[in-house]
Subunit: 479 residues, 2 copies
Amino acid sequence: MAAALLQVLPPGAILSDPEDTRPYECDGLAAYRQMPLIVVLPDSEAQIVAVLKLCHELQVPIVPRGAGTGLSGGAMPIADGVVLSTARLNRILRMDAYSRTAVVQPGVRNLAISDAAAQHGLYYAPDPSSQIACTIGGNVAENSGGVHCLKYGLTVHNVLRVRMVTIEGEVVELGSEALDAAGLDLLSVFIGSEGMLGIVTEVTVKLVPKPACARVIMASFNEVVAGCNAVAALIAAGIIPAGLEMMDQTSSRMVEPFVHAGYDTEAAAILLCEADGTAEEVEEEIARMSAVLQQAGASAIAVSQSEAERMKFWSGRKNAFPAAGRISPDYYCMDGTIPRKRLGQVLEGIAQMEAKYGLRCANVFHAGDGNLHPLILFNANIPDEFERAEAFGAEILALCVEVGGTITGEHGVGIEKINSMCAQFAPAELEAFFGVKRAFDPARLLNPDKAIPTLNRCAEFGKMRVSGGKLPFAYLPRF
Amino acid sequence: MAAALLQVLPPGAILSDPEDTRPYECDGLAAYRQMPLIVVLPDSEAQIVAVLKLCHELQVPIVPRGAGTGLSGGAMPIADGVVLSTARLNRILRMDAYSRTAVVQPGVRNLAISDAAAQHGLYYAPDPSSQIACTIGGNVAENSGGVHCLKYGLTVHNVLRVRMVTIEGEVVELGSEALDAAGLDLLSVFIGSEGMLGIVTEVTVKLVPKPACARVIMASFNEVVAGCNAVAALIAAGIIPAGLEMMDQTSSRMVEPFVHAGYDTEAAAILLCEADGTAEEVEEEIARMSAVLQQAGASAIAVSQSEAERMKFWSGRKNAFPAAGRISPDYYCMDGTIPRKRLGQVLEGIAQMEAKYGLRCANVFHAGDGNLHPLILFNANIPDEFERAEAFGAEILALCVEVGGTITGEHGVGIEKINSMCAQFAPAELEAFFGVKRAFDPARLLNPDKAIPTLNRCAEFGKMRVSGGKLPFAYLPRF
């Protein structure tokens, strides 16, 4: 394989020594590891075309990889496969302030787009918390969100066009610079397809004007359910906050000693609620938000008085995951999304599960979107704790599906949640997914065995659940 | 076939007498007509499942039909096929003001949703000009827009979930009530698929709060290009108007004697620019818009002073098509969409084509979206005029594609623009569309020969263009 690749790539673009390929054995979900056969680092679309044609000819599977920050194992290698990294396609090709668009290669970092657009007063809206490191190619693969996606949308709402290469080496453009494109909306199906349909070579993103001003409210609630109802009340009042995040007491007490964000650790839950726009718009919206929050029973309300204080309020939320690592040896981050009106019901359900499994759970989440990130705290060195954490997590996801939600909001399915897909979708729906997969990649060479479970797999998983709820060893996270 | 259908449908749900099937021989594109074999009018999902299973077994093609208001012939029957009308599935199943959603059957009229939601102060945002008559099933099939879609989005942005039946009779749910769904985004690919992937049985739509107030500016420009630049300047100023429409002098002079909307018929172009929201928001936005328009060279600005005046300003725009019928025996309405920044360039191109083809063209369009509706005026009774109109139209669409746009904004491809798809897409892209089509309907029974041209067809069309630009007779509109 390496010899064949040398016909189409320069030697420096091929890694096969285990010392060189070791960094690629996992992505951000480090519990799942697998050394790849070879890693390739093409630096042009022509090289990607050549690699794909070669792999197609030799029937070698390919795992595409962006920056490797994904949290669901979507970029985990295959033992007899090639990892194709898009890291070297890292140029911003065009930046057009007039049409507010940028054309970038897949290896451009999310934040680098906003940095480059700043001179025009513009930025790229979706802001996953990994935005310093993650790249737009990976964002397209996972349909990434962020704390501002309630107002500004997910990746799919901020990308106009994708240029990609099929497994057969054909270059295809999806979408258009105009509002709508004729034909089937393959751009939307491609965004979030977790590397199963093709390799991105160019992305045309929308840019939006940087708001002149932003302020954030921190509101305290004596009951979690009251906080949840306040979220619904804000939306019902016709307000779309620029960010609407909630943390329960376990989370705020976990974070406060670490970050000193000034959180009310006596409150059962705190809500962070941001307004952005012109100074007048922000002032008016902050007043309206405060009134709704007060009406909804907030026990205290603080509004950031400076940009420094705004950043301080957000710093606690943004450091919740590292803070969890300080108070618990291990934690398991879930990513369920539910209809907003079900927030109270699901949080009560999680509280009951804490008692049932004898484990604590810190709830930090994008409340406005209904996107939960429960952090189940456990110690893998205590016998049985990991198994309980895992069963706890599966029960949370099952509850999300039950109330009309979904098993992933923004982290993707990857390898981690592939069995939960069997709970979410009926065979006819999985078959519809595979139909589209086959349309692009009938030989299943692109990121196989990720994201969509085979019906066979679901049947086996169903049997396993019946026989005791254990996952096969290969899919147990290894801490 | 009728006998077989009687096994699964009551007699009143089957029409086969030509007297009964005549109304179904065309949709809103009346130039294309074809009598169907049979029309069926199921009134439940179970009946739709039974009809599809039967047609699948007997390999009989099916043309789905909503209210028949489509403008691209997407619901034109097939001689040996069944037309499946969803008109009898016309119930609103659930209306939930708290989650701001409604679950409706496909035959519910677009405006009926807003009427039912009005008691909660909500409405369904997409507003095609046929909204009194058109149904949500057809809106899903065509991904319909409207004058407010710049701010509120197309159908795809306002639908959360679709329940549909595949050609094999399997019921599949696409999307979710949560912000995002796991798996491939088949909801987006289904919306706008022109009846080629399945039959809709339920649609969950988003509802939005009715704005407390709305006002519209009418701005006059002495040059069309100045008006186009004003559109860009508004967007560049960070303003997203609730509606942003432009009419050239041909259009305003065509409409004014008919509607008496108070249009400035001396202006080369007029812009209608709406603000909605609270009274304070509207006041502020109208002031900002007026400043930008003045800066962009508007020669006069009028702001609606009452709801009656606002409706009067819009009445001219909304009656542009009927007005065209008063001044010209025939007109041909195009539907190209281009990047906003190309508006001036394309309008200049159209002006040159008017001279080249010796025909007038009235330009009425959703300027904010870049969605053009040039109305080519001609008289089919004058020898050669129709052929010139047709060549004119094809050249407009070719120009739209050339500047990075698309051949349809909201009317769909149907039968009308199937050859233009060959100009828009490369063979690899068409093959990707067909791949998805095959995944759902390998035998091509659902609305065959619409929306996506076969490579064969494109090859023939290419040859025809080389040999003189004539379309085959079967696809000539018959006036």
